[in-house]
């Protein structure tokens, strides 16, 4: 094999890297590394100009390996790999070195040490790059079926979008009816649209399509497989478990209203109710003569710091409904900020004020006090703007509590092999780059399961998830990244360690024509985790892109450069 010709490209990333790492010095150091033919640095490697510079350097210096030291491979590796391909270099003869998130941003005050560390990481990257082998992506088919978990507004929106695209869709809902939390809510603000119209419209669209299969009172109990080839086990309350084969999965499991733990006398005084309980009363036409809404109950407090996004708008909507039904009603909203962002929500806020709803701001240190007064309630609140304490009597006190994740979200996450954040909301792949996708390919997320969202946002996210989920199905094939395992029949002694270690049962012992027994990997099943490589004692089992020779070379590079520096 000819000696590799490696090009190293260090990125300034504006001043994100250059502020702590002496990029020129790292480039100088890179030139001294074995097999490095050229080392350059660039203001923005990921820009058109940066990528063009790399392509030109590949042509001029006849490079066959490229190392880029910049941000994180998790977001930019595909971009640089495609760039190599355009310059005629196999896109897997590319190594990415992270000197931004792993160096300049976390060693901002130690430029010397940061530059040294960047040099070490580049040395390790070059050592691995020298041993990289060209690879080709293999393709696997996609079952043209989608599965949506959760029949709330987000799930309904996703399912109806998929069905309208002519994609066969299974909608799984654990309750006996569709609609989720909205079944208790008659009217949706700020446009005051009847919930029935929205839900029934979607349910009809799904119901009337031969492509849709709705599984009510059913739960997903198991999910196996990978993008294009999922197998979901659905267990209905009465019927036996059913196995569904699908290409993509959308998670729309929603959330639930947090139940107050006695705040403001909840549970002791019947007049103190939550927003959902008020919605049920209003749906039955029971309008109170007076109401005091208390916002941020159990939200934006230590232990639950977040704002649940739409409770202010819900309170404003219900306040307006009460004022329209009882024009002389006394309605106040006690808040710590009114979050009516956007156009229609802000107009509703003005509209409520004009209709006589009183808005009073309270502070976390001076909470409103609620106590019984005869058969209705009395509320005292110190209003910051008026700098005065005001008392008022009221029929009901409505606590606007935040949306929290559903109880079994952890098991669901474990079953789906997807992460949840500290609060228990699902963690999307990237908040801006891929907001409706998980890092796991083929699984998508929408609605309050990701983050509390208003009805129109849930519908929009459902549509977004449906768009993403339809792409693999419309393409009909999915590329498998060549990081799968492979064995060397000569070296393998068929001890079976790898067969035992593989989580996907993708390896079996076979006998060659000459009677030699060895372990063989079924590439379509292999997910590229590398369990088998670690279980194999004589390196017969290897993983593409992470060979034991490559990783050992990285360790050697660190030993040679770091320890030499120390002595």
């Amino acid at each position: 094999m000819l000696m590799p010709r490696i090009g190293v490209f260090i990125c300034h990333c504006g001043h994100n890297i250059a502020s702590a790492v002496d990029v020129e010095k790292v480039a100088e150091f890179a030139k001294t590394l074995p097999d490095v033919v050229v080392a350059a640095h660039n203001m923005y490697s990921c820009s058109e100009e940066g990528l063009g510079a790399i392509r030109r350097s590949i042509e001029e210096n006849k490079l066959d390996r490229v190392v880029v030291a910049a941000c994180t491979p998790r977001t930019h590796e595909p971009l640089f790999r495609r760039n190599c391909e355009r310059a005629g270099v196999n896109k897997y003869l590319f190594e990415f070195v992270n000197i931004r998130e792993h160096v300049s941003w976390i060693h901002a005050k130690e430029p010397l040490a940061a530059t040294e560390k960047a040099k070490m990481l580049v040395a390790m990257g070059v050592a691995k790059a020298a041993l990289l082998q060209p690879q080709e992506e293999t393709e696997s088919g996609v079952i043209p079926v989608a599965v949506v978990i959760g029949g709330g507004i987000a799930g309904l929106s996703a399912a109806s979008a998929l069905v309208s695209q002519g994609i066969e869709t299974h909608l799984i809902e654990k309750e006996p009816q569709l609609g989720g939390i909205l079944k208790d809510i008659a009217v949706i603000g700020p446009e005051m649209v009847k919930t029935k119209e929205i839900i029934d419209g979607m349910v009809k669209e799904i119901g009337s399509s031969p492509k849709a299969h709705v599984h009510l009172s059913s739960r997903m109990t198991e999910l196996t497989g990978f993008v294009g080839n999922f197998e979901i086990t659905v267990t209905a309350a009465d019927k036996c478990a059913e196995k569904i084969k699908a290409g993509t999965v959308i998670v729309a499991t929603g959330g639930q209203e947090w139940s107050p733990q006695g705040e403001f006398g909840y549970g002791k005084m019947p007049g103190v109710i939550t927003q959902l309980e008020l919605e049920r009363r209003l749906a039955k036409g029971e309008f109170p003569d007076s109401a005091v809404f208390i916002q941020c109950v159990g939200a934006r407090v230590p232990g639950r710091e977040y704002c649940s996004r739409f409770c202010c708008n819900a309170s404003i909507k219900n306040a307006i409904r009460i004022m329209e039904a009882r024009p002389e009603a006394q309605v106040s909203i006690l808040h710590r900020d009114i979050m009516s962002y956007g156009t229609t929500a802000e107009r509703a806020y003005h509209d409520a004020a004009e209709k006589g709803v009183r808005f009073m701001r309270y502070g976390l240190e001076s909470l409103p006090k609620v106590d019984k007064l005869g058969d209705n309630l009395h509320v005292d609140v110190y209003d910051e703007t008026l700098d005065d304490t005001i008392g008022m009597s009221t029929d009901v006190v409505v606590l606007a509590a935040p949306m929290v994740p559903i109880d079994n979200v952890k098991d669901l996450a474990m079953m789906l092999k997807v992460p949840v954040d500290k609060l228990g909301f699902f963690l999307e792949a990237h908040v801006k780059l891929r907001p409706v996708e998980f890092a796991t390919e083929g699984i998508f997320i929408c609605g309050t399961a990701r983050w509390p969202s208003s009805v129109s946002e849930c519908i929009s996210q459902g549509l977004g998830a449906a768009a993403k989920a339809s792409i693999p199905i419309r393409r009909g094939k999915v590329k498998i990244e060549p990081i799968t395992a492979y064995s060397d029949p000569e070296k393998c002694i068929a001890c079976g360690n790898c067969v035992q270690a593989c989580p996907y049962q993708a390896i079996e012992i076979v006998t060659s024509k000459e009677g030699k027994r060895y372990a063989q990997v079924t590439e379509a099943k292999c997910k590229g985790c590398g369990n088998c490589v670690a279980a194999c004692h004589n390196d017969a089992m290897q993983q593409k892109g992470f060979n034991t020779t490559q990783l050992s070379a990285m360790i050697d590079a660190l030993i040679k450069n770091a320890l030499e520096v120390v002595q």
Partner: protein, 266 residues
Amino acid sequence: MNDLGKALAKIAFEERGADFLLAARDESGNVAPVLVSKGEDVGDVRIDVPYQLVMVLTKLYPWLEKGKVAIVTRRCDEKALNELTKRGIFDAKRIIKVGLACSKEQVAKCRCSDPVPSRVDFGEPQKAAQDELSDRLLKMTAEDRMKFWIRQFRKCNKCFGCTTNCPVCFCDHSCVLEERELVAEKSIPPGVVFHLVRSFHLADKCIECGECERSCPADIPLLTLRKMVNADMKELYKYSAGDEKAVSPLLTTLEGEKLEDDADVC
């Protein structure tokens, strides 16, 4: 054929229906392995000298397409056979074990802690011998223990005697310790990595037969190191190599144990 040979042939061929018999016999004063088929004279069988018949069986087995093989097995041989069978090297149905309980001297020489086979056909069962070296080492401070081992490892000249003669070490033609990625070439003695990796590979397989120590020209107390690691495995996972069915804990998942989430392991 001495009496022992006759008794052995009777058990193997008549009682237990073997087609072949593998034993060690006297050849002009030395001990050598012999493989005889039914009816052949097995010669003057010797059981007073420890001979790794399992190693021989591993080499011969591929050529004995059909038929059952009887083999004289001490307790360590039996455990070696179990480990190899678990790894698909042998088919348990074709192996007939003829149990040999080691003599007192042999147990002492091997410092063997588990001398009696599950079924004794020859020899008197003896008590396990004491091995005070590993206890003494564990009581040392870490620096002293390291100094001790560094002094020992410095004697190693990478002759691979320990791996070649180890019954459960069967990656013979592709042992990773011969690859320069792990053990730098041209470095005699090899770094500590040689002994660490070997200890890890044998952690769930070593049956403490002592062949490694016996075949080490530099007299490095390798059996002691194996025993220390085996003691660790027992303490961590209540696992000792040689059991017929137990799967190595290094390969299984935690499903049996409580799935505690935030396990900071050490």
